[in-house]
């Protein structure tokens, strides 16, 4: 199966964020011919999203951490591109991967443009690759809330993407809510750009940090970042409310107010504690969901991470259980950009070593140490910022769970309770959440939790895998399919 654009490369890296950039330049350093495909228009991924490089601005790095790490990776990418070692394809997304026919034959990877509405968009194509490094990143995890489909309710990462990429404020008066340290830079970014941030609502009570202090102190730079945010919160007078959630959003055609509710020690909304605040923007993030469609497409083994996300199983060189496929970054466990960079470099070294290049053993050991310490920190963070145990208490019967197919909580419960759908796949088939445009990317976690809640059990990899397995990784047009030359 070879399309007209087909070519064979030693290594295909998917994703040009922290992990993918590190993997690509490391492999190229070791003599591999690398192709780097990325859905974004320029390197950096979601973490280092920045203004369009074709129109330079003086403060390109505004609001960023570790910007020098990006500029170094970007410079190395430029050099390797100039020398013909890396074929970089921005604006390109992978929609299908076909396994090798034999132990020595290549993977077939099918690509299409991430934005089609431009005359010069990249054509549909296919790539043959002997090895693949998957660095698909992730996106904000969401929980349904009454009124969360009103315009003006956004993912926290989307609010930040508008700021970092387009220098656009998503609202004037905001509440930032959910759980996790990512709420801090989003709130501070909004305030520094001129918005009023009424509150950060952190659902966790943060006593978890004390219990996990050995994990937390293993990455000292995180303490420095925390202090910077604390200073910024004081400067902009942003209240940081722990054990608090936004439990309802109201408005006529768009957000006009949000209800803040205290949570008790078991994560239940405390009745009587509700307080409405006038806002035009609600930014939600409940940690992150790794993008797992390509990981599942290659058939790699998955497990449940410490934040209840579906993640890939990898060995100490980032090898997945799929032959000649390496995985790095959030898809192996949400741990932030610096851990992703280390994992990406290790994956690049792994691919280079397995390809016959000589690699530096001391460097491998050093990277493993960084990853081990970062993972300990991430695990402490995940335990301190859990999804509230009783988040479904704030749902009403008509709260949308699936935004695409407009499936309500009552409909999901009906499938579970009356039609005996005790796991996510049956719920999906019977009530149709996760069957729309986003294919369960947004509601998959919530659906899996609701389905498992009946039996009061923990999530299994199957629960999440069934909500995130997609036959095509991204919607493609019939024209794209027609363009393929099938052998």
């Amino acid at each position: 199966m070879v399309g007209p654009m087909s070519e064979t490369t030693d290594l295909l890296v998917v994703g040009a964020g922290p992990a993918g950039l590190a993997a690509a330049v490391t492999a190229a350093d070791h003599g591999l011919r690398v192709m780097l495909v990325d859905a974004g228009p320029q390197p950096g991924g979601q973490y280092w999203r920045h203004p369009d490089e074709r129109y330079p601005v003086a403060d390109e790095s505004a609001g960023h951490h570790g910007w020098k790490v990006l500029t170094k990776l970007r410079d190395r990418l430029r050099v390797h591109r100039g020398a013909g070692h890396i074929d970089y394809r921005p604006g390109t997304q992978v929609w299908f991967i076909e396994a090798p026919k034999t132990e020595s034959s290549p993977w077939y990877v099918y690509t299409t443009a991430s934005v089609e509405a431009q005359p010069d968009h990249v054509p549909t194509g296919s790539v043959r690759a002997m090895r693949i490094v998957l660095c698909p990143g992730g996106y904000d995890r969401q929980l349904p809330v009454p009124g969360w489909d009103l315009p003006g309710v956004m993912a926290a990462g989307g609010v930040q993407a508008l700021l970092k990429g387009s220098r656009t404020l998503a609202g004037r008066r905001a509440v930032v809510a959910g759980t996790g340290p990512f709420l801090l830079p989003v709130a501070v970014g909004l305030a520094e750009a001129g918005a009023e941030v009424v509150a950060i609502c952190e659902a966790g009570n943060l006593t978890g940090w004390a219990k996990n202090v050995t994990g937390a102190v293993q990455v000292p730079s995180k303490g420095v970042e925390g202090a910077e945010y604390a200073k910024a919160l004081v400067k902009h007078r942003i209240p940081y409310k722990t054990s608090t959630a936004v439990t309802r959003i109201d408005g006529d055609g768009q957000v006009q107010s949000a209800v803040l509710t205290a949570l008790d020690r078991r994560g239940r909304p405390r009745s009587g504690s509700e307080r409405a605040v006038e806002v035009d923007l609600v930014a939600f993030g409940w940690g992150f969901t790794p993008s797992m469609e390509l990981v599942q497409a290659v058939g790699a083994e998955t497990r449940i991470g410490s934040d209840e996300s579906l993640i890939a199983v990898v060995d100490d060189m980032q090898r997945s259980t799929a032959s000649r496929v390496y995985i790095a970054g959030e898809a192996t466990g949400v741990g932030g950009a610096m851990m992703a960079v280390a994992e990406g470099e290790l994956a690049g070294l792994g691919a280079a070593g397995d390809n016959g290049s000589s690699i530096d053993g001391a460097r491998v050991r050093k990277l493993r140490g960084i990853i081990r310490r970062s993972a300990a920190f991430a695990q402490a963070m995940h335990h301190a910022h859990p999804v509230p145990a009783r988040w479904t208490d704030w749902l009403t019967e008509d709260t949308l769970v699936c935004r695409c197919e407009e499936v309500t909580y009552a409909q999901v419960c009906h499938a579970r309770d009356d039609l005996s759908a005790d796991e996510a796949r049956s719920v999906k088939i019977l009530a149709r959440p996760g069957m729309g445009w986003c294919q369960g990317r947004v509601c998959g976690f919530a659906c899996a939790k609701i389905a498992a809640a009946n039996e009061d059990r923990d999530l299994s990899p199957d629960d999440l895998a069934r909500m995130s397995k997609r036959s095509l990784a991204t919607p493609v047009s019939l024209e794209d399919l027609a363009d393929l030359t099938l052998e």
């Binding site: 991430s114 489909d149 003006g152 656009t168 004037r172 796949r425 069934r466 036959s471």
Partner: protein
């Protein structure tokens, strides 16, 4: 909406025929947001307004028609000078990647 960095907006896009200013490098979703436009399609079932949600190409809430091409993500499409946008996602089903599993 206010802008984080008030600057002249030398580009113009159109939204349902109306001119909307845009800065080079902005996305269509950003330009519409700055113009105070927060929704640009209605859902099939309940006719509910939809605009930007995930903002990074994952959720497909922000679909609209750009330069005649239906079902484009406003959060990803660049607001290049002269870009023509129409509310509504356009033809349903053309790009349906739907699957039962």
């Amino acid at each position: 909406m206010p802008t984080a960095e008030p600057e002249p907006a030398p580009n113009t896009i159109t939204f349902d025929g109306e001119p909307i200013p845009a800065r080079p490098g902005q996305t269509v979703g950003a330009a519409l947001t700055e113009a105070g436009i927060r929704s640009w399609r209605e859902t099939r079932k309940n006719g509910r307004p939809r605009g930007l949600f995930c903002g990074i190409g994952v959720c497909y809430d922000c679909l609209l028609t750009i330069n005649g091409q239906s079902n484009q993500r406003a959060c990803l499409a660049p607001a290049e000078d002269g870009t023509s946008c129409e509310s509504g996602s356009g033809e349903e089903g053309l790009r349906d990647g739907g699957t039962d599993e």
